[in-house]
Subunit: 185 residues, 2 copies
């Protein structure tokens, strides 16, 4: 876990934003030399794999300024300070899609960009979806449109890069794997 | 592709580093209000799913300063300016593992953190691996150890979070899916 550890000699926090912080660290390498590491600190995030009763995957389309385009993603959002990931997941599912669920099962957590960022994404699977009559609304600077796709439609979207991010690609692959496991029983 | 577009009113580049740049943009939202977006610009990266003749998955262990720990990842690296992703993939595979390959097939590309970064990772599958006698060496500030895992061992590493990043979790799931498809033929 600490193999090839790089020990911090000096840390400069260069930016503290609404969502991310940037720090540059001078580190001592295993061979005694030094280097610098540019690191983004992020509060972490959740995402939710949710299937409707008809087996359709719930997605939201959203403009991503970093990419200068909109993409289809599974519902997701960042953690508020101190918030349990499962509660963030329930909140984001409700706000972005209007769905509640009876169960949220942790599937996997992964770092998205270990080379420069500590963003950890917690992936949940939602079971027992139901419509919420008056759902909480998304943040006032967030605009999303709800889509419900079959697995085959989602795979087409992966192929044509309308689905274009790691967590959603992982989710679609996961559902294909589950589907294959189910059929091979 | 441009649904809910957020138009830049003002852009401030706050940091230009060795690997990432940070810019904060003031944007006009679809409802006419304004907000700010904190964006990391990254040159993009590649990673390689490579199986040995015995069907073992090639991984490298590496310290990730952003996480303050080492993790097992598939071979990967960032694009040099103007470099074709497939050439980066061949170079990183050689430098990090000492393997060459006869074919590198593009599998998928995905953005790792679309909420705040434009890092696009190109995933390749390597075929026809062979040992290179005197491989090019890794960058002088990079320290990696080579591992070769069975699929089952890799899945244990996902479960115990020694494998802990999105691209490698995707790769392990991909190999399980391929394995299942192969067996169901």
């Amino acid at each position: 876990m600490k193999k090839f550890e790089e020990v911090t000699i000096k840390k400069d926090v260069l930016f503290e934003g609404r969502i991310i912080n940037l720090q540059v660290e001078k580190v001592s390498l295993p061979n005694g030399k030094t280097s610098t590491r540019e690191i983004i600190k992020h509060p972490g995030a959740v995402c939710v794999i949710a299937l409707t009763d008809e087996g359709k995957i719930i997605m939201v389309e959203q403009y991503r300024k970093a990419l200068e385009r909109s993409i289809l993603e599974i519902p997701a959002g960042k953690l508020e300070p101190g918030e349990e990931p499962i509660l963030t997941a329930a909140r984001e599912l409700e706000e972005e899609t209007g769905y509640g669920c009876q169960e949220l099962l942790p599937l996997i957590s992964f770092y998205t960009s270990p080379g420069f960022a500590d963003e950890l994404v917690h992936v949940f699977v939602a079971k027992g979806l139901y419509r919420i009559e008056e759902p909480k609304e998304v943040d006032e600077d967030e605009f999303v449109e709800l889509f419900e796709l079959t697995l085959e439609e989602a795979e087409v979207c992966v192929a044509n890069q309308r689905i274009f991010d790691a967590k959603t690609a992982y989710a679609v692959q996961y559902l294909r794997l589950e589907n294959l496991r189910e059929n091979s029983k």
